[in-house]
């Protein structure tokens, strides 16, 4: 079980490679530029990894995407939740 942290946009190479490496029980946290995934609810990963993919709320706020994420009903978490998530996953891998 791995927690994957994506820091680049959904159309980046990092995002493609992360999806290739994702196991059935892994989760994904989208931070930094990756929160632009909030703009595109049709991004395949939203459907495919439902209930185990999250947006970091502080990075949504600074980029002006909080309302768009809420409108699309996408799951967010703050940095404390981020730490809590790392407590549950022994390994994390960052894609950048």
């Amino acid at each position: 079980m791995i927690l994957h942290i994506l820091t680049k946009a959904p159309d980046s190479r990092a995002a493609t490679q992360m999806q290739q490496a994702l196991g059935n029980q892994d989760s994904v946290l989208l931070i930094e530029e990756a929160v632009t995934a909030a703009l595109n609810p049709a991004w395949a990963a939203w459907q495919k990894y439902r209930s185990r993919i999250f947006l970091l709320s502080e990075d949504l706020t600074s980029r002006g995407l909080t309302h768009i994420a809420a409108k699309h009903q996408l799951p967010t978490m703050d940095v404390d939740d981020f730490v809590a998530l790392t407590e549950q996953y022994e390994k994390t891998v960052t894609w950048y």
């Binding site: 930094e32 530029e33 632009t36 502080e58 706020t61 600074s62 980029r63 002006g64 909080t66 768009i68």
Partner: protein, 121 residues
């Protein structure tokens, strides 16, 4: 649209991801302060600099919106946004600050030709 000695500054990078956006805007502001007419073209992720709901976010991260608001004071009034890219990012003009002008994709090459000097950030 054609101003003989105008500088076109192209902004293609989003806030916070790097310093390209800030240093691109700085170049535009300095050129304007020196009296040169300056036009801005926002493409791709650069369009995110114009999102009006940008918050202060995490502590210590400097916001971009105050700099965007400053452009008008420096007489930088022409802010073009690539219409095709706005659409492909699934953004509407309503989510952007006021005062931007949409430009159709096929007009972008013409815009490039009309400006004697270009800086691409």
């Amino acid at each position: 649209m054609a101003v003989p000695n105008a500088l076109l500054v192209i902004i293609r990078h989003a806030p916070h991801s790097s310093n390209w956006l800030r240093e691109g805007l700085d170049a535009a502001l300095v050129a304007a302060a020196f009296g040169q007419p300056v036009h801005l073209l926002f493409m791709g992720q650069g369009i995110m600099a114009l999102l009006k709901e940008q918050g202060s976010g995490a502590p210590g991260q400097k916001a971009t919106l105050p700099t965007i608001d400053m452009l008008e004071m420096y007489d930088i009034e022409q802010l073009w946004v690539s219409e095709g890219e706005l659409k492909s990012m699934q953004l509407s003009t309503g989510s952007l600050v006021e005062g931007v002008t949409l430009i159709a994709d096929q007009e972008i090459p013409g815009l490039m030709q009309q400006h004697a000097t270009i800086l691409n950030f």
